[in-house]
């Protein structure tokens, strides 16, 4: 008989099932798109 504990373990594994984002390559050192960009000293802030 499937033990209650085993059933729970399986359900917790299903709950935490990795998805495609977990399988994606690491973005550790990829500069984020929203990286602060250098403000240009000589651009006038005109309207």
């Amino acid at each position: 008989k499937l033990s209650e504990e085993m059933k729970q373990e399986l359900e917790s594994s299903l709950l935490n099932c990795p998805d495609s984002l977990d399988s994606e390559v690491s973005k550790l050192n990829e500069f984020q798109l929203s990286q602060p960009h250098p403000t240009s000293i000589f651009f006038p802030s005109e309207p």
């Binding site: 990795p18 495609s20 399988s23 994606e24 390559v25 250098p38 651009f43 802030s45 005109e46």
Partner: protein, 210 residues
């Protein structure tokens, strides 16, 4: 092992009430064993229509796609957990990482801080998306400055809070506010996450753009 037992098993699996052994039995309760087999996940035995699986793997013959491998880009065994594509195995050939004399110094890999005048007029030939690519791909570099200048020439402005580029919708004149500090109008934003231009009505504060 005969045909009768096979058909009985399948009729059970098809969730019909199993035929009782002796036709005249009036007992309506399903036996424990029948109940058990009824609860079993029948698809493991009868199988399932594989069409949705095949389509989810992009293997549907109707799609007329040429033969292609699926395992190299399989995001996950289940459709439900395949929320996004995954970067497949790939290799950037040397020749693509050692581009010299095009937007890069003769030293490889390209260092985008010495920009000869060749780049200046080359930049003005690029389409907007290329400029955005160079702007985001090479932060804190001279190329970013160059693309910045070129984009402003094309009436794009960088929004400091939103950290995105925007330009006026050419077909609609914005209305300037009383205090002259802002204007309401329709603008085109470049969304770097989805890599596309998005149109939005917006109140633009002049001090928010660079």
């Amino acid at each position: 092992y005969g045909l009768q037992s096979l058909l009985e098993e399948f009729s059970k699996l098809q969730k019909k009430l199993p035929k009782h052994e002796n036709e005249n039995s009036t007992d309506n309760t399903i036996t424990e064993q029948q109940q058990q087999s009824n609860n079993r996940d029948n698809t493991m035995i009868t199988g399932v229509d594989l069409t949705p699986y095949i389509q989810s793997l992009n293997l549907d013959p109707a799609s007329k796609l040429p033969f292609h491998h699926v395992l190299e880009t399989l995001p996950s065994p289940w459709i439900e957990t395949s929320r996004s594509d995954v970067e497949p195995r790939h290799f950037i050939p040397e020749s693509f990482t050692k581009i010299t004399n095009v937007l890069g110094s003769p030293v490889s890999p390209p260092v985008f801080n010495q920009v000869s005048n060749v780049e200046q007029n080359k930049i003005s030939l690029f389409q907007d998306e290329t400029l955005f690519y160079l702007f985001y791909k090479h932060p804190a570099s001279a190329v970013q400055e160059l693309t910045y200048i070129e984009l402003r020439k094309r009436n794009w402005r960088y929004h400091k809070q939103l950290k995105v580029w925007l330009t006026k919708d050419p077909f609609m004149d914005p209305v300037v506010s009383q205090d002259g500090l802002s204007e309401r109008g329709r603008y085109v934003f470049f969304d770097p996450q989805r890599w596309e231009k998005v149109q939005k009505d917006f109140i633009l504060y002049y001090n928010a753009i660079m």
